[in-house]
């Protein structure tokens, strides 16, 4: 019986060990996400809707505010007239309006979420990292804000200051940042005490350097999840405001406004309600599936 060289044995074992460490956290998460069919489909659909909203109106024969003077009534879809999904009760092309509405809704969604992101991450990170009195004060403030019926205030603001596009996403952003700050604070707190921060400190890192190079990448994951889940909330809130008549000004339109208009015509032409409703609902579904998928990919527990 020959005895195999001990050194080569060990070498082999060590090499196998090294190759196992190779994949980073992000690559692992990406692979897991790709395996989630619902999330992948959602991502594709969202991309399609996004592209359609931005580029679609240029490709269509009718623009969103153009009235078809020959047909001032609600038409069923007709290819020859160029109204692929028909017209609304005034004679404007429904598809064009829906796509433009999509532009507005998605833009508000992204911008307001960006506002919420900036405020929320700042407050949360500072509270979590600095800790102590600052943390206590900030979190007291957040708790206070939770007790306030913020939507009421948004409505009041919109009423008082007019239907200003910029004001709208600022106001909505101010409502949504609370949850973001809590999450970021939680994540920062748990990270702060982890050993690798101590190690970074020990090897001479500055506070700012530590925040940038160690904390931010780890917080990023959680933030991405909540951004994906906040955008649909914002779109819902915006459409709610539009429903109340507090949304964007004519002739601009958003999904919420279209739904509102469509609802008024619902008995005669349900199409005017369903088209924007379906677009919006599908978008919201996809954001939610995607957000769930990202959450599972970054933190796999058997769901």
């Amino acid at each position: 019986m020959t005895s195999i060289n001990l050194a080569s044995r060990h070498g082999e074992a060590l090499e196998t060990a090294a190759s196992v460490e190779g994949r980073s956290l992000w690559q692992d998460a990406w692979r897991r996400l790709l395996r989630n069919r619902a999330a992948v489909v959602s991502l594709i659909i969202l991309a399609v809707i996004g592209l359609l909203s931005v580029l679609g109106p240029y490709a269509l024969p009718w623009s969103y505010d153009e009235i078809d003077w020959d047909h001032i009534e609600a038409l069923p879809p007709s290819l020859e007239l160029g109204h692929y999904l028909g017209t609304d009760y005034v004679g404007r092309d429904l598809l064009a309006r829906t796509l433009v509405g999509g532009r507005v809704s998605l833009t508000v969604g992204i911008l307001a979420t960006a506002v919420a992101l900036i405020i929320g991450v700042t407050v949360g990170a500072v509270a979590g990292f600095v800790g102590g009195r600052v943390d206590q004060i900030l979190m007291r403030f957040v708790d206070l804000m939770y007790s306030v019926p913020l939507t009421f205030f948004v409505i009041i603001l919109m009423v008082l200051f007019g239907r200003n596009f910029i004001l709208m996403f600022l106001a909505i952003g101010c409502v949504e940042w609370l949850t973001m700050s809590r999450i970021v604070r939680g994540q920062t707190l748990s990270l702060r005490n982890k050993e690798f921060i101590e190690a970074a400190r020990a090897s001479g890192g500055t506070t700012a350097g530590i925040i940038w190079r160690h904390i931010v990448p780890n917080v990023l994951g959680v933030v991405i999840i909540y951004v994906t889940l906040t955008i649909p909330q914002v779109i819902l809130l915006e459409s709610f405001l539009s429903f109340l008549g507090l949304g964007v000004q004519e002739p601009l339109t958003s999904w919420g406004m279209l739904i509102n208009e469509g609802a008024a015509e619902m008995e005669i032409t349900p199409r005017t309600l369903f088209v924007p409703a379906v677009f919006m609902t599908v978008t919201l579904f996809c954001f939610n599936f995607l957000g769930d998928g990202i959450r599972d990919a970054l933190d796999p527990k058997d769901r």
Binding site: L160, F240, F243, F285
Partner: protein, 327 residues
């Protein structure tokens, strides 16, 4: 059964003092809200009488005097606060024959009933849905529940409201399934069905989701494993050991849920033309009816604060580890 005397009393005593402290903290919050609201409304351009057709000057002067709009702002503020303490929200600017207190007294019970019904539906339908889904993970049952829950969360209540009105109020109008398309009538059941359903759907969905998630986690704990290893029948393990942990996130959710129900009522009451405080708020905001808007806002804020407090106390009852002296 011997009660461990001092231990029990101590904990209960702590609980009452916690309650008192929380109530005390709620009052300044409320006050801040009142103040911000007040000054926000008064300091912005445009007044309640601007939008309509021009009012003859004498009538205008009378109105302004009646509503004290000519007094200095501080004076208005203080007298408002004074009246508040006596339960007087002031006269409505729009519905000039009514005081806000009267309007609220009319509208609040209706909204309250609908809101409570919605919350009850959320718990009694949502929890079983979530729990049953959790117990058979990744089964068709589970996927159905998740899909239904997702739908409830994603479809906005005004879309759902219109669709249901279309279906039950128009298409099925002449069948036995017909339901009134709106209005409150005598407050009979037929008028409540659709609004309450529409109001409750997102909450049923959220509660189902939450309880599913927490039930899955509870079933994975070591102590549920022990309970199973003891030979207890499955139902006992679920109901007696796992359920409590599964319920706590649902209870926590009820606090913010109150706020959402209030905003949901705005939509539902507007679509279904129900004379509740949600609709009054919307009308008030659009008409710049200062006192009405403030009245509803203050009431809502008070409700939310109260509900959050109740939830925290309930939480302590459910979880024996919670200590009231740490807050």
């Amino acid at each position: 059964m011997v009660k461990s005397g001092i231990h029990r009393l101590g904990r209960q005593g702590l609980m009452w003092s916690y309650l008192a402290r929380r109530l005390a903290m709620g009052i300044p919050t409320l006050w801040v809200i009142i103040t911000v609201c007040f000054f926000l409304m008064r300091l912005t351009p445009g007044g309640p009488f601007d939008s309509d057709a021009p009012v003859p000057p004498e009538v205008l002067a009378n109105l302004r005097a009646r509503y004290q709009l000519d007094d200095p702002l501080w004076h208005q503020y203080l007298s408002y606060l004074w009246n508040l303490l006596q339960g007087d929200f002031g006269p409505s600017f729009k519905y000039q024959d009514f005081t806000v207190t009267e309007l609220i007294a009319q509208g609040f019970p209706i909204s309250l009933q609908n809101g409570l019904s919605a919350l009850l539906l959320a718990v009694f339908i949502g929890v079983p849905m979530g729990v049953l889904a959790a117990l058979k993970q990744n089964s068709p049952r589970d996927y159905t529940v998740s899909a239904v829950a997702m739908t409830g969360i994603v479809i906005p209540n005004f879309v759902m409201g219109h669709i249901l009105i279309l279906v039950f109020g128009v298409w099925l109008k002449d069948t036995v399934f017909s339901l009134p398309a709106g209005g409150w009538g005598d407050g009979g059941l037929a008028y409540r069905v659709l609004p309450v359903i529409v109001l409750s759907l997102p909450f049923i969905a959220y509660v189902a989701r939450i309880s599913r998630g927490s039930m899955i986690e509870a079933m994975r704990t070591n102590y549920v494993r022990t309970a199973r290893a003891k030979g207890l029948p499955f139902r006992t393990v679920v109901m007696r050991h796992a359920m409590k942990a599964a319920m706590t996130p649902v209870v926590t959710y009820l606090g913010p849920a109150t706020a959402f129900i209030l905003t949901g009522s705005m939509v539902v009451e507007t679509i279904f033309q129900i004379p509740g405080i949600g609709r009054y708020f919307v009308q008030g905001a659009l008409n710049r009816d200062y006192t009405l808007v403030m009245g509803v806002t203050i009431l809502s804020a008070a409700l939310i604060i109260l509900m959050n407090l109740l939830v925290d106390v309930l939480y302590g009852v459910l979880d024996p580890k919670v200590r009231y002296d740490q807050h």
